[in-house]
């Protein structure tokens, strides 16, 4: 036997937190827990057939599918998610912006930026969340999205351009 699957409990303990962070970024804090339950339940169903070599990418793929299902079942609901400027800040664009507002402080600006994240095409949104909320390297973002490292980098790059444009527009509007 090449590589054995760890006991499911160990797999769960290891991946619960990053998958939770990913889903909070994808569906917002209110619905993340339900999606997280669905994700690990689906993972448990399929677990004996999982590939032990990259379980993180495997479970993130399931989580992404659950997030898509979730969005489909609640077609267009304006329920934005928190802390997007972290994403922008880390790129060094708007230093310190929003940090004082606290995680759940939904200033109009917060909401607008999260709305902008939510407006990203699903693939770009997933890439941005994996890179900055789950803190994966581009290679692992690619593995979780089933694309190459370069494609993942490109997705994040395009997403950030869109977010920067939205942020600038917003600044104009609220000036």
């Amino acid at each position: 036997m090449a590589e054995a699957l760890p006991p499911f409990q160990a797999f769960l303990d290891e991946h619960l937190e990053p998958v939770g962070a990913f889903l909070r970024g994808m569906v917002g804090p209110n619905d993340a827990e339900d999606c997280l339950q669905e994700t690990f339940l689906a993972a448990l169903r399929a677990y004996p057939r999982a590939e032990p070599r990259n379980l993180r990418a495997w479970v993130l793929t399931i989580a992404r599918r659950k997030a898509v299902d979730h969005h489909r079942s609640r077609a267009r609901r304006a329920n934005p998610v928190p802390a997007p400027e972290e994403i922008i800040d880390r790129q060094g664009d708007s230093p310190g912006a929003g940090l004082a507002d606290g995680a759940l402080g939904m200033s109009p600006r917060h909401s607008e930026i999260w709305a902008a994240v939510a407006e990203l095409p699903p693939g770009q949104r997933a890439a941005v969340v994996l890179r900055f909320a789950v803190d994966l390297r581009y290679r692992d973002v690619g593995a979780a999205l089933g694309t190459s490292e370069d494609a993942a980098r490109q997705s994040v790059h395009e997403a950030l351009s869109k977010l920067r444009a939205s942020a600038a527009e917003l600044k104009e509007m609220t000036r």
Binding site: M1, A4, L5, P6, P7, F8, Q9, A10, L12, L16, E33, L36, Q37, F40, L41, L44, R45, Y47, P48
Partner: protein, 184 residues
Amino acid sequence: MSDFADRLAARANQEGLVDVAYATVDTPLGTGLVASTPKGLVRLALPNEEMETVLSRLARDVSPRVLEFPARLDETRRELDEYFEGKRNRFELTLDWRLSHAGFYRRVLRATARVPFGDVITYAEAAQRAGNPRAFRAAGTALGSNPIPIVVPCHRVIRAGGEIGNYGGGPEMKRFLLELEGAV
């Protein structure tokens, strides 16, 4: 997040997805582990065993769907508590024998399971009861690989000269159990 895990385990159990449920169990000599399949108790690990290794082997030998789910081990843990408190001298648990080799080894363990509380037999007697009186060494090996110690009371098998002999859970555990039962 423990709340989350409890809910997940309960739902998984409802769907029949928990092939191996496990829980920790307190013994007077430290913390052990009990694990069951839908068929019954499949494994009891004594405190001297490495829990991570025990769980990895369950994943490999039974199913990787191993989840901590104490609710399914309530009865097992209650009977063990009572036993350690001296309030129980036989177990009424259904056993899953799949982790013991079929054949002579399993016959030795099944014969040992019938040795009552407070009694002891020798390795040769265990071999004889399993149908091969001369195979007392193999009987010792079978008992040493007992996946469900205490409940399958391999501690009740001792040397012909009266020495208590080896024990997978460590000699102090064997002595403790035999003293608890008033057998030595």
